[in-house]
């Protein structure tokens, strides 16, 4: 299985994207902004369609549209976190523009619109060449470094914005940077592995990590770890059962982790006894994943 170059590329890209999604997703769950991640994948879809429609490289237009929309969402949110209704309205309108672009594609000569839509929505992790896998890994690494740099202030800003502002943490700027990182992950994952896998890798591993522990850095490591495990296990399932598409298998494993998470969490809690209101701060962290600036 490892000998197949397509599987190798999928492992490289999938691992990198899973780590980036885990880190960004942990904050998305903490800030209750999973819907924003979902929105980004729709923006990426419109971006890809726009590129095909006007005849430029869809990857360029995909990143451009996603970043512009991320900044727009941040601007619409103003001083507070952008709310779900605004995100919903943005999704519908940007999707409407995507539909308009698709109608141009359909009347043009570059393949059926259904095929474009299906590729952008579902992608395929087992169809990457070496260069695409490397680009995916590099972009994911950049996003991971960015998240690690802003992790501490972003944590404070997410948990208690008022205190953070009083201590001089640039809460607004951090919110914008986070949305841009979310857009970057979404654009990256959508073009490499499809929008479906993006949501599976952002929501499920991070949600499972939040259910398992309230310690921040342990949680981030767990989210990344569960994501990577899901990618590996899912790819393995897809290779031994060729009928199952890899993105379905990966999403299935990640979702199983999310829904099974309360079971070990419950027994852990029973072992430790009732601890109420334990402060969940970086000061208490002595777990792996705490190597931070």
């Amino acid at each position: 299985m490892i000998g197949d170059p397509l599987v190798q590329h999928a492992l490289v890209a999938g691992t990198a994207i899973a780590i980036a999604c885990g880190l960004v997703g942990w904050f998305a769950v903490l800030r209750a902004q999973v819907f924003a991640a979902d929105a980004m994948s729709h923006f990426a879809f419109t971006g890809a369609v726009a590129g095909v429609a006007i005849g430029i490289d869809p990857r360029v237009s995909l990143f451009a549209v996603t970043f512009v929309c991320a900044l727009l969402l941040a601007a619409l949110g103003g001083r507070s976190r952008v709310d779900d209704v605004t995100i919903g309205i943005a999704i519908t309108w940007v999707l409407g523009l995507g539909v308009l672009g698709l109608s141009f594609v359909a009347t043009g000569s570059s393949g059926g619109s259904g095929a474009t839509a299906a590729n952008a929505l579902f992608g395929t992790i087992l169809g990457l060449d070496a260069a695409q896998a490397q680009v995916a890994a590099v972009i994911a690494a950049v996003i991971v470094v960015m998240m690690l740099v802003i992790a501490r202030p972003l944590l404070l800003a997410s948990v208690d914005g008022v205190v953070a502002r009083a201590r001089g943490v640039p809460v607004l700027v951090l919110g914008v940077v986070f949305l841009v990182a979310l857009g970057g992950v979404a654009a990256e994952a959508t073009q490499a592995v499809g929008a479906l896998l993006l949501l599976g890798l952002i929501a499920a591993p991070a949600g499972a990590a939040h259910r398992l522990t309230s310690r921040p850095y342990l949680g981030m490591s767990m989210a990344a770890g569960i994501g990577v495990g899901s990618v590996w296990l899912g790819l393995w399932i897809a290779t031994i059962a060729p009928n199952i598409p890899p993105s379905s298998a990966i999403t299935g494993v990640a979702a199983a982790a999310f829904f099974a998470a309360p079971l070990p969490a419950r027994s852990l809690r029973r072992m430790r006894g009732p601890v109420i209101g334990r402060p969940a701060g970086p000061a208490t962290v002595s777990e792996p994943g705490a190597e931070l600036p």
């Binding site: 769950v29 819907f35 979902d38 939040h210 299935g252 979702a255």
Partner: protein, 291 residues
Amino acid sequence: MSNPSLSWNLVWDLRELLAYPFMVQALAAGTIAAILSGVLGWYMVLRRQTFAGHTLSTMSFPGAAAGMLVALPAALGYYVACVIAALAMARRPDAHDGGGGIQSARIGTIQAVGLAAGFLLLALSRSILGGLDDLLFGSFLGITPMQVWTLAIVAIVVLGILAVIGRPLLFVSLDPEAAYALGVPVRALETTFLLMLALTVAATTQITGALLVFALLVSPPAAALRLAARPIPSLLLSVGCAVAVIWCALVAAYFTTYPLGFYTTTFAFGFYLAAVGAQQLMRARTRPVTA
């Protein structure tokens, strides 16, 4: 008549619009769908369940794929998939799950599982999903009288149930703790509402498509809630706005070459922007009085 064009004679335009049976059916189905989503969407926006509504609207994909695998009509698959997703979302949150973050992760996971299941079913049935465009973006041209009747029956059932639970649901939506303390069955009402939303989405999807059902659900109610604070006027405004959106979109799509989905979302967005503008104007006018 082969090449529709808009003249300045409104009566003539209307006669041309209604000349084809498919347009009459499209207008009837669109109006019912708009009334339904105007009401349900109003509660959805009020309850901040936009993400849940959006997730329900993606469930038509696994529904259609499952219907194809077992050779049943796609419409049945829509209803089954939407109801299953609604029940999964309505599960009582774990006491240790904390705030809204885990709930949003749960909804996102359910959506991912639904899409993954749809993709898997599609691969298992070894066929290409016929009319992916129609599934995603909808088509008004193929609506049968049978579908219009089904939609009307679903609308009557959903609106009837909502008429019964409307008042307590409003209370629960605005102040869940007070409602719980006064003995209002909060959990039952929330689950019922999600089920009604699921039925609405499943019924409307067949007309607007999976990706755009959401435009009717979120934009008109968001506009209405900005303009009117009292429940009944706001609800009526939401329904009126949704009906206006779908009528404008149908007429525009009929007389031009661009897709209906684009017009639906754009008119919906336009109405929302107009509402935001009107709200700003009203605020600017009342400010000197309150200051």
